[in-house]
């Protein structure tokens, strides 16, 4: 079946449909990871986005039950150069086509993803419309233009858990829980929960709108601020919560959690032209001068110049010198823009979870 991806600037890509059929709109972004499409698909931070993989062959190793970062695929649409109908891996359970179809995600293949990526790099991420229903390119461009976009939209509401729950670790874990952690769910990736558990944390996941008082009442050893989709600015309730926790409990934030912390500290955020999405972003740890290859997925960023004097910059992106990590000078608070839980991506920054537990020890 034919599928069309139309961008708000009028560019149209025609390809073949796979996965589900229908029509969807979203911000079109690209991810440069060569592996990990299932993790990308299931990362709630991609809510509201149509994701293009720059690696051309996708679907090769199929999909399985384990490599998920949330209950199911979260992206609005999925764009690849060549979808592999054959999936080969000893853990593979379903083809990507089946997986997406079952979860109602539209995929398009057979398009020049590099041309699309170059367009996004040069002109910035754009809104787009992906459809297998409407064959008219002009009408699709109009729909893309009409879509409201991510800025100012509170996407956290769409991915946070409705009720608090205790994280049940599925894999064998020999570490006895030592710390009680509350994780504010802005769209949390399972691998963060897995990592916390493996580092000896018993994790209670709570909805994004949980207040500081409610959290403090649970008397956790530390609070985790999760990743999540979209613009941090409209998530003002979370900013307030964080402000209520600062100085009272050790805090560790990742990605959106980091941005919200930045805002809570009085900093500002801005939208990057085309974001950082991939598994090869070099980040320098300023304390050690060591470079970590990191997994990243963010379109917004904390403005390095807007940070108050109360925080130190701990990590910097070597590609574009943007902020990657901060630490509070007085309080046990730190956060990173990138994804130390990886999944997909390298494990170079796993040490940050130990840093969190060390903080809780203190």
């Amino acid at each position: 079946m034919k599928a069309i991806l139309a961008l708000a600037d009028g560019t149209v890509f025609e390809g073949e449909q796979f996965g589900a059929t229908g029509e969807t709109a979203g911000e079109v972004v690209f991810n440069t990871s060569m592996t990990g499409y299932q993790e990308v698909l299931t990362d709630p931070s991609y809510k509201g986005q149509i994701v293009t993989m720059t690696y051309p062959l996708i679907g090769n190793y199929g999909c399985n039950e384990a490599d998920v970062e949330s209950i199911g695929p979260q992206v609005e649409g999925f764009v690849v150069r060549e979808y592999s109908a054959y999936h080969s891996n000893w853990r593979s359970k379903w083809s990507l086509d089946t997986y997406l179809a079952e979860h109602g995600i539209i995929g398009i293949q057979g398009i020049d993803t590099r041309a699309l990526t170059r367009r996004l790099r040069v002109h910035g991420v754009m809104n787009g419309c992906l459809s297998t229903e409407d064959p008219n390119p002009e009408s699709l461009v109009a729909k893309a233009k009409a879509w409201h976009g991510l800025v100012g939209w509170d996407l956290v509401q769409r991915v946070t858990c409705p009720n608090p729950y205790a994280w049940q670790h599925q894999e064998n874990n020999n570490v006895d829980p030592k710390y009680r952690v509350v994780a504010l769910d802005f769209g949390i990736k399972y691998n963060i929960l897995r990592q916390l558990t493996e580092h000896g944390c018993e994790v209670q996941v709570v909805p994004a709108q949980t207040t500081a008082e409610e959290i403090l009442a649970a008397e956790p050893d530390g609070v985790f601020l999760s990743n999540g989709p979209g613009d941090p600015m409209p998530v003002d309730y979370a900013i307030e919560t964080i402000q209520g926790l600062m100085g009272k409990k050790p805090l560790f934030g990742i990605c959106l959690g980091h941005q919200l912390l930045g805002l809570a500290l009085g900093g500002k955020t801005f939208k990057l032209k085309f974001g950082h999405r991939g598994a090869n972003q070099p980040v320098k740890h300023l304390e050690t001068d060591r470079v970590e290859i990191t997994s990243q997925n963010h379109g917004f960023c904390v403005d390095i110049d807007s940070l108050p004097n109360s925080v130190d910059i701990t990590h910097i992106n070597l590609n574009d010198d943007t902020l990657e990590g901060i630490q509070h000078r007085e309080y046990p608070i730190f956060s990173v823009q990138y994804h130390p839980e990886a999944s997909p991506g390298p494990h170079d920054a796993t040490y940050l979870f130990s840093r969190f537990t060390e903080m809780m020890d203190f």
Binding site: L57, Y61, S88, W90, F274
Partner: protein
């Protein structure tokens, strides 16, 4: 850390002659290292015996020693140059081994030389199997279980732990003979017993079999601050059990999930840290059980490798260059990524295309050997292809091989009985991919093929897609329709978008292109000319698009113009309007066409760039310097086929294309390109053809009054015999168009001639067989010259040390000639001038002459760069290829200031290196068909010393004392007397067979008597096996009916005993030994030699 200032002079060791497993990738890495370190202001001393390398060009190091890469010679260089540091990791195993030897023997300590990059303990830990295994276990990684056995009992104990199947590898046997896989105890006992008997040290390595597991490689880099990055991941299409050098490989990894890949990445990082490679690149290999995902570590190379060259070309990340910078103290984040310019080198490249590497073999040259692919590498070269999909890259790769395939072709294989397919699929062989195609085409399931081949079903599925799609294209109804549309399109009748038929045709052809089908494949399917396909599809709007290799999947803008073609919607290349010259490279290495031609292409690029031209390089060989992105202004990593070259030509519109530097590859395209309107610069394709066509060439020679050996042409086997008889045996026979002496043979009688005519070639009027009188005992001379169309200057005259009839690439030769008289030299010059004029040469020309009884015969003229150009350039201190490139661009030799021949005051000897130890059972005799893979150069003011150096550089240790076996044919018995006398004077003892011994005795020389083979014991075989002989002089009677002598040769090669099979060769060897005995061998840099010119 900034760069180190406590060192200022660094020694770099190259990898020597091109051999199987160690090819021009180390010239690429060494050249990058020299450039990078010079750029940092270090003084560079270089040792490499291979003159055909770019790194040994005098501009790349401050002191360039073309000397043998042996510990004693390198010590002389160290003593003379006193470098403070030695970088051992860029010259392959050769450099690593010599560096270890120098470190272990205390030489480095003695002269205060520091190993940089990798220290001795790290190298030892990575290279020693036991230490490596221990280290892996320490960091919690799994390795295949293994152990060493010296007896049947030890082996039986071992297999209890290892289990079946078990691999048995006898130590130090030729080509791994005697090894195998045992599936049960009975088989095992048999193989162990046989292996122990075969191993000269009665040692076996018993290993857990991981054959059939998936094989992966990671290219890892580490800096002094302990930052570790993975540059590239590679998946082998062929599973474990086939050497990675003999496997089709793909980058990046295709069939691992991120979880599994990251596990492997973690292991790789742990390994490089535990082994302790301080800085630089390493290659780590893993095997993965396809059923469980269990990962085991196979091995690690603590240095740059063939795979790292591939990884550099596949990603655009220059591993060797960065490794060199890390070795002098920089950290990864302090080095910019050249390709993006704005981001640092401290990152992991990500690619948005698929890279396929396919090996190229040369079994046709080594008939009689087992062609099964095993854990021992046998390929001589490789092609790499980049495509948007695996299918496209694979088909591009197959046509890049230049073995006659234009993609995943249909082969006569399809006629193979179905019953034979399973064995063709399960026993790895060169054509396996085509057998897979045949199996798919006949409906064999992916599962079944997987069971036979263990190739991952993902790849098989992709092959199936190609096969299925080809069937779609060939369906009679579609076929007719597409053919019609193509022909219409040629006539400018383009089906409109509204026309459903036209749309389908366009879509199908587009998909064909996305699947990598070449125009030639399509022309076969539609039974129209390749030109019709081209014009037709262009008419339909289907053209190749070019994309950039940028290390970052388009996340940043690329500064470096490194391109590949793919069928897609956007073309990124923006051609400039500067004057441009395009240089066509040599494609994958093969015997007869390798690094020498790449050297010439690189020189052309450098010279023309310096003259202000924009240079465009086209090549498909990832091992080369020419495919380094900063050699030319623009690099197109593409197959060298007419279609692919025309695509680039139409894109770039250069004013000239150079075809005479890349060997036979571009020459084969010359006429077709010219017909397509491509401006070929230099000697015209027609004139080149005149030199290749027997009749036309005869006319040229007649016109200027030169002689050829008497010859004739046979268009059938019946015609051959009378022609040969009239010429008189022996004769040289060959097909009319030959590459590197393919299928060329000397035949001594009619029986052999008939055998040749029936088995080796099929003579026909279109493909006649050429028969030449073989000039026995003639001296062969090679002349390289350059001409601007008016003036011709001789670059060098090389006298072969072997007699004529041995391929010039396989002969030792010396420049200047050592036995020719001035008069002969003058005549050779005059002849060469005349030939250049007659053939209207603009550029380089090589002429082969034979001198017999004071008559000079022209054997062959090649109006193009020859294999000897780099050697001659280094012998005379003039960069001939650079000058030739400028001549082609329009300058005259007078303008270039090269009008006078150079007469060096020193001797340069070139000696070939052979791969026979990889091909047990093959014919080791030398003849008109080239068999060597590489060459070395020895330079000295004294001929004997130069010869001794060349021998040493080839890996032959000329003995200083001991026993010499002499057995010569009757004709040589007189000549051997003087040689034998000299040997006795030098303190050697002689061993001889009856006939030779008698002659020696008559001349007052005692010799220990051995029996001729089959006449009694002991024979020379026993002596060889007992290491009781140190040098062999054995001149065979020439014909193939002497298997005994072949066996002597093969055994000598196995046991590393130098063997000489001609009198001139033996004489040179004896003089060389004399020079070695005098012990006055010194080393001199190329720069110092050139000062004497």
């Amino acid at each position: 850390m900034p760069k180190r200032t406590d060192i200022d002079k660094i020694l770099i060791i190259g990898s020597g002659a091109i051999i199987i497993g160690q090819a021009c990738e180390f010239d690429y890495s060494g050249t990058q290292a020299c450039k990078a370190l010079k750029e940092e202001g270090y003084e560079i001393t270089l040792v490499n015996s291979n003159p055909a390398t770019i790194m040994t060009d005098p501009d790349f190091a401050d002191q360039t020693y073309i000397e043998p890469i042996t510990a004693d010679t390198v010590e002389l260089v160290i003593a003379k140059e006193r470098p403070q540091a030695l970088l051992p990791t860029l010259g392959g195993q050769t450099a690593l081994n010599v560096s270890v030897e120098l470190a272990e023997s205390g030489v480095l300590d003695k002269y205060n030389v520091e190993l940089i990059g990798a220290k001795l303990p790290a190298i030892q830990k990575a290279e020693d199997r036991a230490l490596f295994k221990e280290a892996m276990i320490k960091i919690g990684l799994e390795v295949p279980q293994s152990g060493i056995a010296h007896s049947v009992q030890e082996a039986l104990d071992l297999v209890k732990e290892i289990g079946f199947p078990a691999i048995i590898r006898p130590a130090f046997t030729l080509g791994g003979t005697g090894g195998g896989i045992a599936y049960n105890i009975e088989e095992y006992e048999k193989m162990v017993a046989a292996g122990l008997a075969l191993s000269p040290i009665s040692e076996l390595l018993i290993e857990e079999s991981v054959i059939g597991w998936k094989e992966f490689e990671l290219e890892v880099m580490r800096d002094g601050a302990d930052n570790v990055v993975i540059i590239c991941s590679i998946e082998n299409v062929d599973p474990m059990g086939i050497h990675t050098g003999d496997s089709i490989t793909v980058a990046p990894i295709q069939t691992l999930t991120d979880k599994e890949y990251q596990l492997m990445r973690d292991s790789a990082i742990k390994i490089i840290r535990e082994i302790g490679v301080d800085t630089g690149g390493s290659n780590i290999q893993f095997a993965v059980d396809p059923k469980t995902g269990k990962q085991v570590v196979i091995e690690m190379n603590p240095r740059v490798s063939r795979s790292s060259a591939l990884a550099s070309k596949a990603t655009g990340f220059p591993i060797a260059k960065i490794a060199a910078k890390l070795a002098v103290g920089y950290n990864l984040d302090e080095i910019p990524n050249d390709i993006t310019a704005e981001t640092p080198a401290c990152f992991e490249p990500t690619i948005d295309y698929v890279v396929v590497k396919i090996p190229r073999w040369a079994f046709e040259k080594f008939q009689g050997t087992d062609e099964t692919l095993t854990t021992q590498m046998k390929s001589v070269g490789e092609a790499m292809a980049i495509g948007g999909t695996f299918k496209e890259a694979l088909q591009k790769g197959l046509r890049s091989l230049e073995t006659g395939w234009s993609g995943l072709d249909n082969h006569p294989l399809e006629e193979l009985p179905l019953s034979e397919l399973p064995s063709k699929l399960s026993i790895p062989n060169v054509k396996r991919i085509f057998y897979i195609k045949a199996a798919l085409a006949r409906g064999m399931s992916i599962e079944e093929i997987h069971a036979y081949t263990h190739i991952d079903p993902f790849f098989l599925y992709n092959l199936k897609e190609i096969v299925d799609f080809e069937q779609t294209l060939s369906q009679p109804s579609t076929q007719q329709q597409i053919k019609q549309h193509l022909q219409d399109a040629v006539l400018n009748h383009i089906p409109q978008n509204g026309e459903p038929d036209g749309v389908t045709t366009k879509k199908l052809l587009q998909q064909a292109k996305q699947f990598g089908f070449s125009d030639r494949q399509l022309s076969d399917i539609y039974n129209v000319s390749e030109g019709t396909i081209r014009e037709g599809r262009e008419g339909l709007g289907i053209e190749a698009t070019f994309k950039t290799v940028d290390t970052c999947a388009a996340e940043f803008e690329a500064e470096t113009p490194y391109y590949y073609s793919t069928c897609s919607s956007e073309d990124e290349v923006r051609p400039s309007d500067k004057p441009k010259i395009m240089i066509l490279g040599g494609g994958p290495n093969r015997i007869g066409q390798g690094i020498e031609f790449d050297y010439c292409c690189v020189h052309a690029a450098l010279a023309l760039k310096a003259e202000g031209y924009e240079t465009i390089m086209v090549n498909s060989n990832p091992e080369t310097v020419s495919t380094d992105y900063d050699t030319s202004d623009r690099l197109y990593f593409e197959p060298l086929t007419c279609e692919d070259v025309l695509n680039i030509y139409h894109k770039e519109k250069p004013f000239g294309v150079i075809v005479q530097f890349g060997g036979q590859t571009p020459l084969n395209l010359a006429i077709a390109l010219k017909e397509a309107g491509v401006p070929i610069i230099g000697t015209s394709p027609e004139d080149i053809a005149r030199s290749e066509d027997r009749k036309l060439f005869k006319a040229v020679l007649d016109e200027i009054g030169l002689m050829q050996p008497p010859n004739g042409t046979a268009t059938s086997s019946e015609e051959a015999a009378p022609i040969a008889a009239a010429l008189g045996y022996p004769v040289i026979v060959r097909p009319s168009y030959v590459l590197g002496g393919r299928a060329m043979q000397i035949v001594y009688d009619e029986e052999l001639l008939q055998e040749y005519m029936h088995s080796a070639v099929q003579a026909s009027p279109e493909h006649p067989v050429l028969i030449d009188k073989y000039l026995e005992e003639a001296i062969e001379v090679d002349v390289d010259a350059i001409s601007d169309g008016e003036k011709t200057v001789i670059g060098g005259i090389m006298e072969h040390i072997e007699e004529a009839g041995i391929h010039s690439g396989d002969s030792d030769c010396v420049l200047p000639p050592y036995t020719l008289v001035d008069e002969q030299i003058e005549t050779l010059k005059t002849f060469t001038y005349a030939l250049a004029k007659a053939l209207r040469v603009r550029g380089l020309m090589n002429v082969q002459y034979a001198i017999k009884n004071d008559e000079i015969y022209v054997l062959e003229v090649n109006p193009r760069a020859s294999r000897t150009i780099p050697f001659v350039s280094k012998a005379i201190g003039v960069p001939l290829a650079k000058l030739a490139a400028r001549v082609m661009a329009g300058e005259t030799l007078a303008e270039l200031g090269f009008t006078r021949e150079i007469e060096p005051t020193y001797f340069s000897v070139k000696a070939p290196v052979f791969p026979f130890n990889r091909f047990p059972g093959s014919n080791t005799r030398l003849g008109p068909e080239m068999k060597s893979t590489g060459e070395v150069m020895g330079i000295d003011t004294d001929f004997s010393r130069a010869f001794a150096k060349a021998q040493k550089a080839c890996g032959y240790t000329l003995p200083l004392r001991g026993k010499v076996f002499i057995s010569v044919k009757n004709k040589d018995k007189r000549a051997i007397i003087f040689i034998a006398k000299k040997l006795i004077d030098m303190g050697f003892e002689l061993i001889a067979t009856h006939g030779t011994a008698k002659v020696l005795l008559r001349n007052g020389m005692e010799a220990e008597l051995v029996f001729s083979i089959g006449k009694g014991r002991p024979t020379i075989h026993d002596y060889i096996k007992n290491h009781a002989v140190d040098l062999i002089i054995n001149t065979p009677t020439g014909d193939l009916h002497r298997p005994n002598e072949l066996l002597i040769r093969e055994m000598a090669i196995t046991h590393d005993i130098p063997i000489f099979s001609t009198i001139p060769g033996a004489a040179a060897a004896v003089n060389a030994i004399d020079a070695l005995q005098r012990g006055d061998i010194t080393v001199t840099s190329l720069q110092d030699h050139f000062r004497t010119l």
